[in-house]
Symmetry: C2
């Protein structure tokens, strides 16, 4: 998907919501758990209920790999349910030496038709470049994550005064541009988010941590929106598990709609 | 597998060779490529040919994921061919927020019965701990990798004078110990390898980069062996593709045997 197509869709939907399909057999409604296709049925119901209010779906590969071979079949099926209009993210956090990253890129961009994949930066340039070779596909590079452990290495200060995640942002500017490279920036510190946006005004940010992890939609929007929106706010658990009863899809829809209504205000009056 | 079992097996085999199954449909012998089970047949032949000379197999998940669902079936089958005596590594380079790393740990330690998984440190403590909860299972944490891109972030100097990878080694000492935590340390700089070994005398190191990537077996052994061997040297392409003819398994065996013979000298006279 091109930058222009993505922006147009976001403006049409009046939403920058990404629904994270971290679908967990133990957390979906009990009545569904009896079904052998439980996760497939659950994902279909969630996608049908939320598609009008979001612009992207993020499949967290860990939740599917845990089922082994069957899990990858569920990913395949789930991708078929997602409307062609929507941006499809493999939240896979891959990254390895060049010839191996080549294979991961092939996995997510060819074998499965994702638009984007999250990539971990630790192994540097040659671990990321294979993903950037694909036309109209995207790398979403981990810069500053929303978890406690982001303090351990990402937040360390280098001898030149930069933090490690700031160096990741700076160095990766040489690898791609706003047409093929986005960043994961956690929602846990709106001030930091604002400073990063000021320095990198054009790139899309994928912001996790709103909802179950405590980040606030309006604070994030205020800090990180740019002239072209340039933002996905991801919500997973708060939408998927809005109810664990038969009304789960209806409740998921309401939660997604509520977030879209908040976002609409920011798109109309940025 | 426990530390003691692993050491005993290494001493029995007189080998610390890890065979990396980075099996690529485009590189295996042409006569095999016609077969629909080409990779399965190839892996079986390689395992049968090399099992007497190595102590571990490393499955690089990228090469299998590229086939989609079928790829995970190949991983399942391949694991069945590996003798119970051998240490089984998922070279997956995973790592995510806690509830997601939980799922990856479940994938590799429960759904598939690997002994160890490679983990990327960028997201910090809570991204690694879920893997360390499993008894007799191992994390192999990326510290210093063998690729060019290791310079981009791993080799940066922090304000306290430490390099980023040194901080990863130091901080992770609080997360696990030599009974559940190993490190990936690239073979490209034996002096650095020696210094790391002096600082961390007990932990196992998984050393890639010998063979196709240019590292030298004897230099690595001299620098990194400890009193309990404490070392896996990985070879992938140099063994897998020793020949692309019908004699590929025989040539793979010879290459593995040659490496084992070199290793035997180091185990007998460390």
């Amino acid at each position: 998907m091109t930058y222009a197509t993505l922006i147009n869709f976001i403006k049409k939907q009046k939403s920058y919501l990404c629904v994270g399909l971290d679908s967990d057999e133990n957390k979906i409604p009990v009545f569904l758990q009896k079904n052998t296709n439980a996760i497939i049925d659950f994902n279909k119901a969630i996608i049908d209920a939320t598609a009008d209010f979001c612009v992207a779906y993020k499949i967290n590969t860990a939740f599917y790999e845990a089922y082994g071979t069957k899990g990858w079949e569920i990913i395949e099926k789930t991708l078929e349910f997602i409307p062609k209009t929507h941006f499809k993210i493999a939240d896979a956090k891959r990254g390895d030496i060049g010839n191996t990253s080549d294979k991961y890129a092939q996995t997510f961009f060819e074998t499965f038709n994702f638009d984007a994949v999250t990539v971990a930066p630790y192994m540097g340039e040659d671990s990321v470049m294979p993903f950037l070779k694909y036309k109209n596909k995207w790398v979403i590079l981990l810069a500053l994550t929303s978890n406690q452990g982001s303090k351990d290495f990402q937040q360390l200060t280098l001898e030149n005064g930069q933090k490690v995640f700031e160096k990741v942002l700076e160095t990766s500017q040489n690898w791609g541009n706003e047409n093929n490279l986005m960043y994961v920036i956690g929602a846990t510190n709106p001030l930091e988010l604002k400073q990063i946006r000021e320095k990198y005004p054009k790139h899309f940010f994928l912001v996790p941590g709103v909802g179950a992890q405590g980040g606030d939609l309006n604070e994030v929007s205020k800090a990180a929106l740019n002239d072209n929106v340039g933002l996905f706010i991801n919500a997973s658990r708060s939408i998927l598990y809005a109810s664990n009863q038969e009304d789960f899809a209806e409740k998921a829809k309401k939660e997604a709609q509520k977030m879209q209504k908040e976002m609409e205000k920011w798109i109309l009056t940025p």
